[in-house]
């Protein structure tokens, strides 16, 4: 083979190998970091995995937010079809309130308690994370008026 061509072939082979490794790494990382979303009703029905992180979203049930003298907070999330107790330690986001939709990331234990390591209240004008709106819609519990704003 022409030495120039040989060199070029080497370069191409090297590059293909590099891209191959990159793709393998990528798919691996991708698979490990997928976070599924479950609505409280699905969690109650046992569809969510125990001990593996996922995201949950729903409305904070009015009157369930319990805060002691520390940063530990307990509240209940519902989508109308089921409710799940959630525990979180830290500062809640600005938009967290009773009766509002939130999304939390964390793990579920055997007793059905969801320990969140992150609580998100979406920063937009309708206070309604889309996943939550969807879950509520499915359960037929969409509060009046919210439906129209969600679509903005």
């Amino acid at each position: 083979m022409h030495p120039k061509r040989k060199k070029r072939l080497m370069l191409v082979t090297l590059m293909v190998a590099a891209v191959g490794v990159a793709v393998a790494l990528l798919l691996n990382a991708f698979q490990q970091n997928m976070l599924f979303f479950f609505a409280p009703a699905q969690v109650v029905a046992g569809e969510a995995p125990e001990g593996h992180p996922f995201r949950i979203g729903g409305m904070v049930v009015v009157g369930t937010v319990e805060r002691g003298d520390s940063l530990k907070v307990k509240f209940t999330l519902t989508d109308g079809g089921g409710s799940v107790p959630v525990e979180y330690e830290g500062i809640l986001p600005d938009l967290f309130r009773e009766g509002q939709g939130i999304v939390a990331r964390g793990t579920l234990d055997a007793d059905g308690l969801f320990t969140a390591d992150e609580v998100l209240a979406k920063h937009d004008e309708n206070y309604m994370p889309p996943e939550v709106a969807d879950a509520l819609k499915k359960a037929g519990k969409m509060p009046y008026g919210a439906e129209t704003v969600v679509n903005q």
């Binding site: 976070l35 520390s70 600005d94 938009l95």
Partner: protein, 659 residues
């Protein structure tokens, strides 16, 4: 009446841009000089009309004309003046109008500052830009008219989202759009070249300053967004791998690849077809980004489905843009590919590697951003891809990229020997390893990531300096020789040093930040990294359109006062939305960051967030250096001189108006 003038101007602009899209292009293909000559005046007229329309909308905001639906939705009489002006792009309709305005601004600039470019080429570029403009103006007029009236007229508007009432976010979108839309210029040059079948080094030279300028804007725009998220969202993060951020990162990655392949195309005439492809992708991703963010597709696929008109238009426009460009490419590019040769050790190889890595990374981000959307749209479950995914992929791609960056800027074009630069490289490598050993020790803790990051950052900076020294080796260091070096070279050096600074900033911030959420009663103290934070207490205050709790935290170090940090918890009156305003004591080597949570218990205790963030400013400093590097490249003499020379050549030769 006045809003109708704005609407009417927009309709006229659409008509003008339609003419601009068709006539000059057709003239250039059929050899009608007078049709070609129509390009520049129509571009200017279009820019004028869009500017009128935009000014009218701004006026409606200033006088609080709530009979305009968009103003009623996003403004309020209590809103301070500066946010009324920035409120114009505070929501969907206005931000699309801003997009159109910036596009017509870029078109105007191309028509004014491209005298050296043959008129046929210029006509085609302006025609392609007008095609984009037609698409955008149609989109605005059909689906998102900002001038829609509202009856009955409300007494008060619904106010701008409090999150957007901030200087950082007032300037972030225009900057970002300048970058996004700037890639439309590179795109148009690429398409015009494909149409004309002329893909030479002169073409690359015309295209390069525009690309560099757009890239500089995009870089600064992204940095502004990151800075804003850091101080405004109240949890001190500067990058979240949020889909919205990814949407702006993707065009940046491809745009960076484009800058580099353009350099090779300009200097050596290689990678030309690839450059065209990158220009197409950079702009397509910009479009994707704009539409994804602004149409609400990203926040919810269902919002997308619920407004089929916008969604269909978006998809149609994207498909048309990408489809037509790729078709044109497939048809024309094989004729144009005539690549020069280069050896494995050459700057071309380095740039190729840079391109491959950047594009792979972009594909990674695209996958992580779009896959959840696709799955959701197909009703196959909801999932999101966490930051660890992006971080895991970033490292194996970023490390070879940083290493290659150092070597690539030192080797010569076409062919070189590693032995020539081996000594310098070895020195830089030793110094970098040393930095990798010492910096973590100074910061007080060893992490392999910190060692790697500080070594790589140092490596990039040192090798860049070495390239600079190399330039002066034979000339001696003097003002005269410094002037001889083209400013695009200084631009490259500055941008590369910026990358080094960025790497160090990211590394040290991520590994050595201390973040604490605490319950603090008045008088309580907390010690972190040699600083003592004392919570004094909370008072109530009143702002122009909000009420606030203001918490005071005094910071001392070794008994001396460092800062008094007033963080706020605001409640905006109209939208009754609480907002945290963090208090930050910035510094080149560390930020002290305090944010107020909520009141706990009855003894005046509050939840307080205390952060110590070393080297966080380096992240934005690095980005600013990159942006400045891009500007330096634009200012390069050769882009001006070359155009003058060409102008003369053009004056001598009679103009050819053929395809």
């Amino acid at each position: 009446m006045i809003p109708e003038i704005g609407h009417f101007a927009l309709v006229l602009a659409l008509c003008v841009s339609f003419v601009q899209a068709v006539v000059p292009l057709w003239g250039s293909l059929t050899g009608r000089a007078s049709w070609v000559a129509l390009a520049a005046p129509s571009a200017q007229l279009q820019a004028f009309l869009v500017a009128i329309s935009y000014a009218v909308l701004t006026w409606s905001f200033i006088i609080s004309d709530f009979s305009v639906l968009y103003v009623a939705n996003t403004s309020n009489t209590e809103l301070p003046m500066i946010y009324r002006i920035s409120g114009v792009w505070g929501a969907h309709e206005g931000s699309l109008l801003l997009w159109a305005l910036i596009l017509s601004g870029w078109t105007l600039a191309v028509s004014l500052f491209s005298r050296g470019i043959p008129s046929v080429m210029l006509a085609r570029v302006l025609s392609v830009m007008a095609m984009i403009s037609v698409g955008f103006l149609l989109f605005v007029l059909i689906t998102s008219n900002p001038f829609e009236r509202l009856f009955p007229v409300p007494v008060e508007g619904q106010d701008l989202n409090p999150l957007l009432q901030d200087f950082g976010l007032a300037v972030h979108p225009p900057m970002l759009y300048m970058g996004y839309v700037g890639f439309a210029v590179a795109f148009s040059f690429a398409i015009a070249a494909l149409i004309g079948g002329r893909l030479d080094m002169a073409w690359a030279r015309w295209m390069r300053p525009w690309t560099a300028l757009a890239w500089a804007f995009l870089t600064v725009g992204i940095a502004l967004g990151s800075w804003w998220a850091y101080y405004e969202l109240g949890w001190g993060g500067w990058w979240f791998w949020d889909p919205v951020e990814n949407a702006s990162l993707m065009p940046w990655l491809v745009g960076t690849a484009l800058m580099h392949s353009l350099a090779a195309s300009e200097k050596r005439g290689v990678f030309k077809a690839w450059t065209v492809l990158l220009a197409v992708f950079a702009f397509s991703l910009s479009l994707l980004g704009t539409f994804l963010v602004r149409s609400g597709v990203l926040t919810s696929v269902h919002a997308f489905a619920s407004d089929p008109e916008r969604g269909v238009f978006i998809l149609g426009f994207l498909v048309a843009t990408i489809g037509c460009s790729l078709l044109l490419y497939a048809w024309r590019a094989p004729r144009l590919m005539r690549s020069g040769s280069f050896s494995a050790v050459s700057r071309e190889s380095g740039l190729l590697l840079n391109n491959v890595l950047l594009v792979v990374f972009c594909a990674t981000v695209l996958l992580g951003t779009l896959y959840p959307l696709a799955l959701d749209a197909l009703n196959m479950g909801k999932l999101s891809v966490g930051p660890p995914y992006f971080n895991t992929v970033l490292i194996p791609l970023g490390v070879p990229l940083a290493i290659a960056m150092g070597i690539g800027s030192l080797v010569r074009w076409k062919q070189d020997k590693l032995s020539r630069i081996a000594k310098g490289l070895a020195l830089a490598a030793v110094a970098s390893l040393l930095a990798g050993a010492v910096v973590p020790w100074l910061m007080g803790g060893y992490f392999w990531g910190a060692v790697l990051g500080s070594a790589l950052g140092t490596w990039v900076i040192l090798t860049t300096c070495q390239a600079l020294i190399e330039r002066f080796k034979n000339k001696g260091l003097s003002v005269a020789s410094a002037k001889q070096v083209p400013s695009s070279f200084y631009g490259m050096c500055l941008a590369h040093v910026g990358i080094g600074v960025l790497i160090i900033g990211i590394t040290l911030t991520s590994h050595y930040s201390v973040e604490k959420d605490l319950r603090m009663a008045p008088g309580e103290v907390f010690d972190v990294s040699g600083y003592r934070f004392e919570f004094v207490g909370v008072t109530e205050e009143e702002g122009p359109n909000y009420d606030a709790f203001v918490g005071l935290v005094k910071v001392t170090s070794g008994g001396k006062q460092v800062a008094e940090l007033y963080s706020e918890k605001r409640r905006y009156r109209v939208q009754t939305m609480p907002m945290t305003e963090a208090a930050i004591d910035p510094g080149l080597f560390r930020d002290l960051y305090v944010a107020l949570g909520e009141e706990i218990g009855s003894d005046g205790a509050w939840a307080v967030r205390i952060y110590y963030k070393p080297f966080v400013r380096w992240i934005w400093l690095g980005c600013l250096m990159m942006g400045a590097g891009g500007i330096l490249t634009v200012l390069d003499r050769r882009y001006k001189l070359a155009s003058r020379r060409e102008l003369r050549a053009q004056a001598v030769q009679p103009q050819q108006v053929t395809a």
